[in-house]
Amino acid sequence: MTRPRTPGLSPATLARRSESALARSEGVREYLVFRIGDDVMGLPLASVKEILKLAPITEVPRASSEVVGILSVRGRMTTILDLRRVLQLPDAPVARGARILLVEHGDEVLGLRVDSVTEVVRLLEKEIEPAVAIGGGLSEHVTGLGRPSNREGREESVIVLLDPVALLRS
């Protein structure tokens, strides 16, 4: 599987390189997998419009705490959120490989800052476990847990699958 090295590498490109024909067959869901600290998480691939490298973000005074600031994406002023804060995870310094995931929310596009983007994972339905009470601030945003069956040296055994709509409802 490929790792995104350049900014703006769309998940669509990633998917194409990794035999996306399979995805269209029934019962397979594709997720963009990323990390926040030690947690491995995933968002439905279709919901991620673009991945950007970290660029200088302009702070917005008096905005709510999850808002990191704004970034001009091809001329459009895009609000960037700190996914840590959205998920109510403890703060940490901004990682060097941090990325911004552009996600659509209604007729706005929002950016989610994460520590790193790992890969696109294809999960069969049987590899997804629907959400059970996990505890902490995670529960409402989680749709399930993904357990990809072992494929050549995968470190992640559990991917926390997030629901973009619930996530951005704040």
Partner: protein, 708 residues
């Protein structure tokens, strides 16, 4: 095919909108004409045709309700133009109502939510159309008109012919021949010249006189002018009067006519029982001018192109980006200038850059110009509202408009309708006294509402003035205290001007206040917020017994704005220069604290100051070398305290996402070009915030002042 369908649908929407606007204008002209007994039957027919067309295309595109409503209106108009129903005030009211209903239905198609009561309108029409037809003897028989001509007339044209015959107006046939290439304009020209003295019934193209490059038309018209006059006006000798047949004893004695068609006098009004339109066919020049002479302009050959405003916005964005690139090139040029060996090249590049700058500026100006529309258009729509509200309240109102050709950005204009409507409703509904009351006070029973617009520097000022009762400060204060908007103690401290400003507080108006035309909420606070969103302010002046004036000050355009870039702590902001009066060094002025508010004295006047660092909670200590940027809008001023000034720049403000709408103080952000994105300050909102905080009223509203 889907894309095609989209485009065609947009075409339908644009055309329908234009149709409805034309209808509005024409109805106003008809209203005016009817009051002065100078009604133009062409206008009535034009309104009929407009509604007829709308019915047709709405039906084709599947908008059943719109089409059916247009059908109802069309039937009524048909009866009117065929002379079966007379055009009285009550009938006109129903017509106006009809156009209003169509306007709202069209809005619904576009996805806007409007309340529409179609049933009410239908009932109104029904109560009018239950009129009995009057049988008349056919006066047309008196004229020697061949069946070939009669056969090609539409029912309406026949009716017009008959109406003229009834009034014993001579009929003439006029033959004109025009080259194919210029026939449109030539025909227009002849029409214009003839219109003051004649009614053109129909045009009949004649095959015999036409050729490959010319078309001959026979024009049938009714006119009391002499043949000589007609010949001169038409620019041709080929004018003949239509002869009369031998009169029948049943009919009215035939019109007296000499060989060259004398004009004979007739000044008796038509008998009350026959519902025909009044005899005069001439529209006085002056009344046309009052309405802006648009009666003719509307039907002129159009040289305009309809453009979607989002396309213009896109172009503006592109130009904005070009502007940023231009600045970047400028910076590179600067760096090149430091290398002496590059001088010759950089000099060349400088020249090109300057030329580029000039062209860009011209492009910008040109595009800004396209977005500008005369505010008169908006005023016209309001004229309708004035009539309506006046009738609702039983008031007599005359609308005076000044400066209709003042230009303003189309986007702003759209947003102005609601606030202006609200102000007008206030003025007519509450501000103006009833006619009897006015007489008693020695005023003219007809109240005046004036809409004035003029340009003042980079702003457009719009005034809504009335000569009504004015705002009674005692009543305002009483109500404010009663509504808990101000404590009785604080109330004592307020001067008259401050008391009047209380009307802008949310919660001041009641539920029993009249809802505006779009059915949305009331309250001058909403008006103020809306104006503020456009970057403008609203002020209020009033004198009891004399009148009230609302003054709206708006930026001419929302697009590219010359701004001041300033730094506060580690943040950089921009503020449009239109609101900046001057910038001072804070240290040179004595600072005081009055009533919890920081102030300085500037040229003898107190100026409240606000430290942006503390307002924005940036947590930096006060800077002794700070600057004060004096910001003013309308009558209000505040000094914004910043750490440094970084110069002027042309910027394009881009809006922030919806997620940040609750954050106060910013109207958007802009890309400065060197990848720096900075926030643009929302001057009206900051003024509001700055002047509300720590004021006597603040205590009441502390709880609601929370920020996102």
């Amino acid at each position: 095919m889907n894309e095609e369908t989209e485009r065609v649908r947009d075409e339908f929407l644009a055309e329908s909108q234009e149709l409805v606007e034309s209808l509005s204008r024409d109805l106003l002209l008809i209203d005016h004409g009817q009051k002065h007994n100078a009604l133009d039957p062409d206008l009535v027919n034009a309104v009929f045709r407009g509604v007829h067309t709308l019915k047709g295309i709405a039906g084709m595109f599947g908008y059943g309700e719109l089409s059916e409503t247009a059908h109802v209106l069309e039937d009524l108009l048909d009866q009117i133009r065929l002379g079966k129903i007379s055009l009285e005030q009550s009938t006109l009211d129903v017509l106006f109502e009809g156009v209003e209903v169509l306007q709202r239905l069209l809005g619904a198609v576009r996805g806007e939510s409007h309340e529409v009561d179609v049933a009410l309108f239908r009932d109104a029409v029904r109560s009018i159309t239950s009129a009995t037809k009057v049988a008349t003897v056919d006066p047309l028989a008196a004229y020697d008109i061949g069946d070939d001509v009669l056969g090609v007339l539409t029912e309406y044209e026949e009716h017009r012919l008959r109406a003229n015959a009834e009034q014993k107006n001579p009929l003439h046939r006029l033959r004109v021949r025009f080259p194919l290439s210029s026939i449109d304009s030539d025909l227009e020209a002849v029409k214009r010249r003839l219109k003051p003295v004649a009614e053109i019934i129909t045009y009949l193209p004649s095959i015999e006189g036409s050729g490959d490059d010319a078309i001959e038309l026979e024009v049938l018209l009714a006119s009391r002018a002499t043949i000589g006059e007609l010949r001169t006006l038409a620019g041709t000798d080929a004018v003949e009067t239509v002869r009369l047949r031998v009169p029948e004893s049943r009919t009215v004695p035939p019109p007296r006519m000499t060989e060259d068609g004398d004009v004979f006098r007739r000044d008796s009004k038509p008998p009350q029982r026959t519902p025909t339109l009044p005899p005069a066919m001439i529209i006085p020049e002056s009344s046309q001018r009052d309405m802006g002479a648009e009666g003719i302009a509307v039907r002129a050959v159009s040289k305009t192109v309809r453009v979607d405003i989002t396309k213009l916005d896109h172009l503006m964005n592109l130009i904005g980006e070009l502007g940023i690139l231009k600045s970047s090139v400028g910076r590179v040029l600067e760096r090149m200038g430091h290398h002496t060996e590059m001088r010759p090249i950089s000099a060349d590049l400088q020249r090109v850059h300057r030329s580029f700058e000039r062209h860009l500026a011209a492009l910008q100006d040109g595009l800004l110009d396209v977005r500008m529309v005369p505010i008169g258009q908006t005023f016209e729509r309001l004229a309708r509202a004035v009539r309506q509200v006046a009738r609702e309240h039983g008031k007599e109102v005359r609308l005076v408009v000044n400066g209709g050709d003042t230009e303003i950005d189309k986007l702003i204009v759209e947003e102005l309708i609601d606030p202006l409507l609200h102000l007008i409703r206030n003025a007519v509904g509450h501000g103006t006294e009833l006619p009897q009351e006015r007489l008693r006070l020695g005023k003219d029973p007809s109240a005046i509402i004036a809409l004035n617009a003029y340009q003042k520097g980079n702003h457009v000022v719009i005034e809504v003035e009335d000569d009504g009762a004015g705002i009674d400060t005692k009543r305002v204060l009483a109500r404010a205290v009663e509504r808990d908007l101000v404590s009785a103690d604080a109330a004592r401290e307020l001067d008259d001007h401050a008391i009047r400003q209380l009307v802008f507080l949310p919660g001041f108006s009641t539920a029993n206040a009249v809802t505006d035309i779009s059915g949305r909420g009331v309250g001058l606070d909403v008006v103020r917020t809306n104006i503020g969103r456009l970057g403008g302010v609203i002020d209020l002046h009033s004198t009891v017994g004399v009148g009230t004036k609302f003054t709206l000050t708006l930026p001419i355009t929302l697009a590219i704005v010359n701004s001041l870039v300033m730094r506060v702590a580690s943040h950089t902001f921009a503020i449009p220069l239109t609101v900046v009066q001057e910038a001072l060094a804070l240290s040179e002025y004595e600072q005081r604290v009055v009533d919890g508010r920081e102030m300085i004295t500037l040229r003898g006047q107190s100026l409240p100051i606000v430290r942006l660092a503390s307002l924005f909670k940036l947590g930096t200590p006060p800077n002794p070398k700070a600057f004060v940027v004096v910001t003013a809008l309308g009558q209000r001023r505040v000094g914004l305290v910043v750490d440094a000034l970084e110069g002027q720049q042309d910027i394009v403000t881009k809006p922030l996402g919806k997620s940040l709408h609750r954050v106060r103080g910013f109207s958007g952000a802009t890309d400065l070009g060197d990848q720096r994105v900075i926030l643009v300050l929302d001057a009206p909102a900051l003024l509001d915030e700055a002047l509300e905080n720590e004021s006597p009223l603040a205590e009441r509203r502390m709880t609601s002042g929370g920020t996102a």
